[in-house]
Each structure stands twice: as C-alpha cells, then as structure tokens.
Subunit: 406 residues, 2 copies
C-alpha cells in the first residue's frame, strides 16, 4: 500500500489524457505547421500537457518535426506537423452531376481520386459508388489501404431518421447509404449535408481559417447560408438554419417558389432564376435557353448587354438586401461567397456591398469584409475528409486507433 500525497505530483509516465490528444490533433490539423506555443494556445492547454501529448503522438508516428524557428534569446523553437502518411481517409462528394471519391492522407491531401458523371434524369446505382471506392482501395499502396480510418460523405438532399438518403440528383430514394458502406468496408462512416461540409472545408482549408464570426453564402440551384458564431456552426433548433433562399424579397411577386411561397430570394437570385429572368427579358425560348449557362450571362453583362446586366444587377441587389438583415442581426466579420455565382464575382460583389452599405447599420456594414471561396469544385471532398478526421477525434475508440494507443 502506497500512501498518496495530498497534491498528486505530475507523473510523466501516466497515460496522456485523450482530451489532450484530441485537442492537439485538432490544432495541428488547423495550423500547418505549428510551434508548441501555437498548439498550446489553439488547444487551450498548458505547455506541460502539450509536451506530453506531442511526445506520445511522436512515439506513435502521428507527427513529425519539420524544422526549427529562431527565438530571441531562448532555444530555437521546434516546428511540428502532422505526419501526412500516418493515416488515410476516404472522402466522397455526392453533389451535382459528378460523384467524386478520393483517398486522402491525414491532412486531407488527395492521394487517389475517382469520378463518375451522373446523367441528368438517370439514377446512379449505389454499386457504381462502391466500384469507385473499390478502385481507390485497389490502387492504394498496402500501407495506405491498411491505414484507412473512416469514410466521410458530403451529401445533398435529405437523410431521414433511419439513416436513409434521398438525393434527387442521383435518383436515390431512401438509400441506406451509411449501413451499406459500413457493411461492405467495415469502416466507420460519417455523413453530413453539403452546406455543413462546405463550411467545414472553409474552416479547415479555406479563407475562414482565422475567422470566429462569419457566414458562408452559397448561390447555385438554391441559395443557402451557413453561420459560424464564435467559432461554432449554427445548426438551429430543428437543424434547418440558413434558409436565406426562402426569405421574402418581393411580397408582391407572382412568381411561386418551389417552397410554395411567393417572392422568395431564390426566385430572383438563384442560378435557375437568373436564367429564367434573362429568358423572359430577351424573349428566348426554353430550348434556346437550355444552352445558355450562367457564366455566359455574366460574360454578356460584362460586354454591356442591357438585359444581362439588368438580371444580374437585380439578383445581386436582392442578395445584398437580404444579407443586410443577416449583417444587422449577427454582426459577422466575414461573408464568404461560394457556388455558381463565384464566376460572376467581379459583377456581383460590388452590388452586394453597396446594398449592404445602404441597408445595414454603418458600424455593422463597415465591420464586415468579403471574400470569394478559393477551394473550387473539390470543396465538398475536402470537407468530407475533414469530417471523417474530426469525427474520429470525437469517438474514444476511433481516436485511440488513430493515435495507435493500445
């Protein structure tokens, strides 16, 4: 029997708290590369905890030292990074007309990729997606194959309470995707809606890395907005926040929205709405319009074509007006633009800004800056990889596997 001191001494050989490991790994995923001080500050841990955590992760081969920084007076400071090859993940993006899969390293860098076009109006058999993952696993090295930790999936559409996915673009109705993937690959599977995955990607890899209070506006077939408040994504009481597309902009409108209401923002500023309004103004037939893409309308507006300019201006002003509400209500520091509309940013952004300046409180309008997402079409894949990584951190047994703790 050993008598225990009243104030327990720090035991350098005691196991490191899993919470420390989790927070250190999350910090190293965000800051690349990082010093010990960066990690301590980001993970809100003291230096001793960080040192012990890093020691354990180093022993397991999860991190590596990538250099040294001179420090004034003291010892040179070590610069640390996650070891990319320590683990792999499978990331999948089911949005739009292309299904994409990648095998990523620990940091979310793509090592192998597979894509399949989805023909409009035709269903994509789930087995085609499995075939894609099979190709990735076949082409992977034995080490990559052995180190797969989890599968992350960014999905459009609706997931019901039984975990069944309905995604119109793929022709899927009630597909139990999580169960099918788990059974086939014996790996943990994490699904997340595409807006949330985009926000995740922007936080992990994009322009919002440093921001605490920001919003992400996606304008494509629909219009949605994601809020991050004090560093946390706002999901809402029934997980339906961010429906900017369905605020009423024109109460007298006779155009009915998909949602059943009239005069929603989506009837003015979404990609299909811009195309429709351009067709109405120019008297184009539906068949001739089918060939015109949004980028072409932006190009015509740039050349000074009156109809194109009018439609784009109306869309941008409606976006700016509705965003002025969000700015007044939530006082964000950054609005990040993504989706189809990115290709017309030179036209759209100045109008959005001037409407916000007109309709939001001056102190709030001047506190917000604007940026355009630079993650491109791979944004959801990057988000899905980040999803898989962060969900593994949350689960004690998956974290232990990732850190190679017995």
């Amino acid at each position: 029997m050993v008598s225990v001191p009243v104030k327990p001494k720090v035991n350098k050989h005691a196991p490191v708290s899993r919470r420390w490991l989790r927070d250190i790994l999350a910090a190293l995923y965000r800051i690349r590369p990082a010093t010990r001080a960066d990690v301590a500050s980001h993970a809100k841990l003291n230096n001793a905890s960080v040192s012990r955590g890093l020691q354990q992760l180093d022993g397991a081969g999860i991190i590596r030292k990538v250099g040294k920084l001179d420090s004034r007076g003291g010892r040179p400071r070590e610069v640390i990074s996650l070891e990319p090859s320590a683990c792999t993940f499978i990331a999948m993006d089911l949005e739009g007309v292309t299904v994409r899969c990648t095998l990523t390293d620990l940091l979310g860098n793509f090592r192998l990729r597979w894509e399949e076009q989805v023909s409009l109006g035709q269903a994509l058999p789930v087995e085609r997606v499995f075939a894609g993952i099979d190709v990735l696993l076949r082409d992977a090295t034995p080490a990559q194959r052995e180190r797969v930790q989890a599968i992350g999936v960014s999905f459009p559409g609706l997931l019901d309470e039984q975990g069944c996915l309905t995604a119109v673009n793929l022709g899927w109705h009630d597909v139990p995707l999580e169960r099918l993937l788990t059974e086939r690959y014996r790996l943990p599977v994490f699904l997340e809606r595409d807006e949330a995955t985009c926000i995740r990607a922007e936080r992990s890899h994009g322009l919002a890395k440093q921001a605490r209070d920001w919003m992400y506006l996606i304008v494509s077939n629909g219009i949605g907005v994601g809020f991050v408040v004090d560093g946390r994504h706002v999901s809402g009481h029934t997980k339906m926040s961010g429906e900017l597309g369905h605020v009423t902009v024109d109460p007298h409108s006779t155009i009915q929205c998909q949602c059943g209401k009239y005069g929603c923002l989506e009837t003015i500023a979404s990609t299909p709405a811009i195309l429709r309004q351009y067709g109405e103004l120019t008297g184009s037939t539906a068949s001739s319009l089918a060939c015109i893409r949004l980028a072409e309308i932006f190009e015509r507006a740039r050349r000074g074509e009156v109809s194109a300019l009018a439609v784009v201006k109306r869309a941008a002003e409606a976006l700016g007006f509705t965003l002025s509400y969000a700015v007044n209500l939530l006082n964000p520091e950054l609005i990040l633009l993504g989706g189809d509309i990115v290709c017309g940013q030179d036209l759209i952004l100045p109008w959005i800004r001037s409407e916000i300046a007109r309709h939001a409180l001056p102190q709030l309008a001047s506190a917000v800056s604007f940026a355009v997402s630079d993650l491109g079409p791979d944004i959801r894949l990057r988000g899905a990889a980040s999803l898989a990584f962060h969900r593994c951190l949350r689960d004690p047994s998956l974290l232990a596997r990732l850190c190679r703790i017995a």
Copy 2:
C-alpha cells in the same frame, strides 16, 4: 521519496477542482432544486466529481439538502438547493426613468430594494446612486452586509474602452461608474448592457430556462433582438449583434431613422414610431400626443378605433416580416417578447405569427413557439444579480471567496 503508481488512484482528500465547483454552482443556480443526477447532467460531470464538489460546498454552507425523492428500487434521491443566505449581491438597473437597486440573496431573490425616479431631461447625480446603495447596506443585517460578493449593473447607452458610461436617460456623459463603485465599496463591479442582462434574466429566471436556440425581442424606444444559439448568447464580431431595429422594411420610406437611414423597422414599430404614426393619422398635435401612452393606443385599438388599429397592425406586421428573416436564418425554437409592447400582446402576437407563417419556410415557422416575458419591470435587476453571480464563478479568486475556500 514516494513511488507514484502509473495509474493515479482517486484521492478523496485532494482539493476539488475549481472548475467542478463552478459548474456545479451554475447548475444549481439554474435548476431549483436539483438531484445529484440533475447536477451531473447539467454540469456535464461524472457522479464522483459531483459528489465531491457537493461535499465541499455542503461543508462551506453554500448548499443545503431540501428533501428526498423516492426512487424506484434504489435509495431515495437527495434534493439539493443553494443556501440562499450564504451570499448576497447588489444589483442595479439604470434603464429608463427609474433607477433601481436591490440587495439579493445567493439565488437572486430581492431582500432589500431602493428606487429613485429620474425626472425627464434632468441629470441624476451619481451620488444619488451611491446613496441608494448606502441605504441598502445600512438596512441590511450584519450577515448580509458581510456576505456581499459583488455588484452587478445593467446599463443602457454606451460604455467606452476606458469604462466610461454615457447614458442619455440619466444625463450621464463619460461617467467612470465601475471605478467609482469599486473605489467606494471595495467590491468587484460587473457592468452589462441591458439587452444582454434581459437575456440573462430570462435564462436564469424566465421562460427561456429550458431553451437552447431562442431569441428575445425587445420593443420599446428602440427595437433590439438577442440571440441564444445552442445555449450561448451571440454577441457578434464587434459586439453589436441584434440590431433588428435598423433593418430596412420600407425602402421607399421618407421617414429618416435616428441612424440616418430611411425605412428602418424602428421608424414603424418602436413605441415613439407608433405614437408618431397615430398622431399623423388622427391629426393630433404634438402637445396633445404627449399625453397619450402606448397602452392607451392599444386600448383604443381594442375598442375598434380605426386609426389605432391601423397603426398597431402596421407595426406588428413589420415586426413579423423582419422576424421571418430571423426565423429562416436561425431556426429558433422560441421567440420571447419583452419591452413596452408586452401590454399589447393580445393584438400584436397574432399579427406577428401570421406574418411569420406567410414569409418564413413552413417547417421553420411551425418549429417556433412564442411567449411573452413574465419577469416584469424587475427583469434587468434579476439579470444584474445573475450577472454578478456568474462573473464571480468565472474568476478563480472570487469563486474561492464565494465557496469559502482558503
């Protein structure tokens, strides 16, 4: 030298973590009274930590056992409450035309109170406020006096970076209130803007105790809204969130708002705006209007007076329209109404609801419920007491004093 075991044993005599004490106290402030299981679940602590924390708080006289609940099969469960008389706080409300001070017990119950009317347009000397606190301290029992932990103040107006308060209603310009109070009473002083204090009061004592995602709408001389998202108050990047009063409702309006813009919600639905529009419709002179109060206009609307009904309906619809944006964006479970407008809730609420139903997505409109604050004119005092308590928990030395830890 004692050899330390690899897995340290739990030491029942080691000091209890201050974080545990803080989280247990916060849980007991919210849940009254509570079982151990309630505390563990609310404070997110395990049973052993809760037991040790409660033991220490019991020893210090901060909590008491108030009864036992039968439990199926097991031992009866003890019901615990904070001991009200263990500590006292001074709470102050500087809003409006009455300055209020109270001495509260640990749970925020008022033990002594003092009030002073502020004559409109006349400055209230800061010394009058001191005199009020002096009266409270004079009338307190020696035990109450000795146990004052802190002063909490709910203020209107602006606090600059040097801690100087400008409050138009009191005729105060750059008053260093915090410093003056600290110097005079040698107590920690915590100041908070009135909207935030109201939200605090609703969370600690009001109808929003159980809600995680809700908003608080205050309509009085101005219009503001406070958001609580996943249990946390949203303050915004520059601490200016919630400016619902300055969203543009009528872009073609010729009525200029105090903020310089045109057609803001405040020019339609605030108390002065309702009075102004009623005057315009009825052709009343400014001097005859000065005698009419908002409650009177609601009363005339109830009696079916056309002008009163029109003005009240316009205000309510504008509130509903702007709230529909907030509902679509943030997907709250509850909207709580406060301020002057509460006295017309029977008229206002149905119009607000129907506008939200018309302009928000049906799934979001049906997810939100409505309630009217029942805390009355003491709401900010209750919030100020809660502020003082919770700020003491945050500060290690104040927490130690509150818990009587050496």
